[in-house]
Assembly symmetry: C2
Homo-oligomer: 427 residues x 2
Amino acid sequence: MPISANNTNRKSWIEVPVDSDFPIQNIPFGVFITKDDVITIGTRIGDCAIDMGALQQLNYFEGIELTDDMFMQDTLNDFISDGKKTWRLVRNRLAELFDATNPKLRDNKEHREIVIFDVKDIEMQLPVLIGDFTDFYSSLENATNIGKIINNPEKALPLNWFHMPVGYHGRSSTIIPSGIPINRPMVQTLPIGETTPVFGPSRMVDFELETAFITTDANIMGENIPISEVEDYIFGMVLMNDWSARDIQKWESLSFGPFLGKNFATSISSWIVTMDALEPFRAKGPKQDPSPLPYLQQKGKNNFDINLEIAIKTEDATTTTISKTNFKYIYWSMIQQLAHHTSNGCRVNSGDLMGSGTISGHTPDSFGSLLELTSGGKAPIQLNNNTERNFLKDGDTVIMKGFSKNNGVRIGFGELSTKLLPPFVRK
Amino acid sequence: MPISANNTNRKSWIEVPVDSDFPIQNIPFGVFITKDDVITIGTRIGDCAIDMGALQQLNYFEGIELTDDMFMQDTLNDFISDGKKTWRLVRNRLAELFDATNPKLRDNKEHREIVIFDVKDIEMQLPVLIGDFTDFYSSLENATNIGKIINNPEKALPLNWFHMPVGYHGRSSTIIPSGIPINRPMVQTLPIGETTPVFGPSRMVDFELETAFITTDANIMGENIPISEVEDYIFGMVLMNDWSARDIQKWESLSFGPFLGKNFATSISSWIVTMDALEPFRAKGPKQDPSPLPYLQQKGKNNFDINLEIAIKTEDATTTTISKTNFKYIYWSMIQQLAHHTSNGCRVNSGDLMGSGTISGHTPDSFGSLLELTSGGKAPIQLNNNTERNFLKDGDTVIMKGFSKNNGVRIGFGELSTKLLPPFVRK
């Protein structure tokens, strides 16, 4: 294995709980506010958040070429701009520093107290300033389900679906990290059987289970990136909940793609797991038939074996896992998405976010949205507190999790948790 | 008139050519690089660009509460965040300073040489960092034309069109100022009569004549803005060319709205004309029938009388004006667009850009795109050099202009000029 941070035999001198998403083989990157109210870039091992700004000030990154304040920033964009070589040097250095056999920081109590925080004492922030947000629609099972619910069951998929990773632009301004609650949106909708629309709280608030990747500066405007090179521009991945109000989404879809039906909120998990950390979990994607055009033809394994699950936690603190699926089923890979996105010369920058589209498996217990799990709201799902849901109720918290596991190493994303509050009312 | 900068009797000590878009009543805002390679915020009178960073350093904004480096920045976002009161104080101050009767700067040769540049010697930049870009579809004539060309002529408009300003999210990363050329995009398309798509240079590159407005920080995520208050959050306007590749746009439209068909380039004019400067040109919009829902009901005159025109300049330097129309015909006003956009709690920030959608008039010589002007590419238009165009050829420059005029005052946007280059070829 060429990436030393991925060494499966390595243990950290920081204790890592069994089944933690954050062993020393993960080393994700994020931004947090410490209990001393300092904002910094950091990483996580077990239940410890590590202040990389402080580490840099204490010279622990000596020998790696970095700007002086690289990690004393409130976004990862500059670090990401520095490119793959720097990401790898820094991640490897962190793995060495926290290696159980390395006394340098382990035995320096003073430094440890400056650098290490309990994750309970920090507040995670959005890890990047997201310039542009694109959402794809790349799960065949999801697209087929949605097509059957919304369109003709015989003609579920649009003609272009098998020829390119279709997608649309989303709204950056309402992307929030895990833990921030959202309001039920007010929406214009056309009630079934009516000819005049109404305005009021959405009655069909739904989640969408997605993953998303974060890019670095990839190209000059007007230039494409060949699919053989595109992987170098993907920094890492997060979990994403693409909140959706199905009633206005349906009414809006008569003209263009999703607009107000989606742009009230999108949640992402707070730690970016690097593609380097996910390298051991490559998987083969589904066979693509028809064969894609040459600019979308890929070699090797470009999917990733990431277990995903969704739970709903109700106000009475009852949690019900309602779906389990896996990212490896995705039809269009991330490199195909990025090659397509830049094929027309569209510029991609450091910190851009690209969502997979809802990820659904083959069976009804593996669907990625309530729209699919309840067959368009017609067949409610049962929760463990003996209530049921067609769509979400105020007070519901949607919790998404994701992790990869093999050779005794588990690399995960932590929890993506978002509570739905009642609509905003002006006083 | 409550805004002193709009005083129609005022003359400047800077000479203003006849029919200039930039009399002392305009005072637009922009960002430019001076011949000394300094980037600054500035304004324009006649053919003079005025360095507001230098003006601030020389204390000409004394008495107005501003951060020390307000105008020594490479975007207007912070200034725009300061809100309407500050915009107005600064614009009024500039009008006073350049008033023919005011000797303060007029008679200070040393200061004049520091502050004033010939517009030929500066390089205009994008005026704002655009966080999110939304494009509406609010011209009834355009939407009807497009509907007839693309859909059933009997059912040209989608059902929702008369009930809300429909729109979609665009791509911020490829918005460029006037003067920057673009490449013909490479695109995937389905040739007519075929069942398998192909990839190659777009054969249907088109412009779209639009205006766009730029916002300030408007709301907290989750909260709406009542339509009665929304106008305060609009800073000013620019001209916009929403470049479109009609072949991939058609192929993409089978799933969602525009994606690669639009995101290769969007051009905007470089000077932001404030809503204060446009105040004297308010006009009544078309009657809205059916009456909009209460959250979209507006009072007074909310359209603006802005003359618009499009010309094509070919490689032989022949310029042909191909269309003339007016922004006052727009069906959904800017305040309706912004009230709708935030109705679901979508956050709007300083520097967001919102396009009108293609602006077309009633007659064939007033259409805002080649798609309409050539009836979907079937009836080519004639240029003054005896060539014709269905869609654009490599080497064509599209020039858009816009101005308002009454009481002897002309307020304009300058030229929005963009040249189409051949596709990028990797060496």
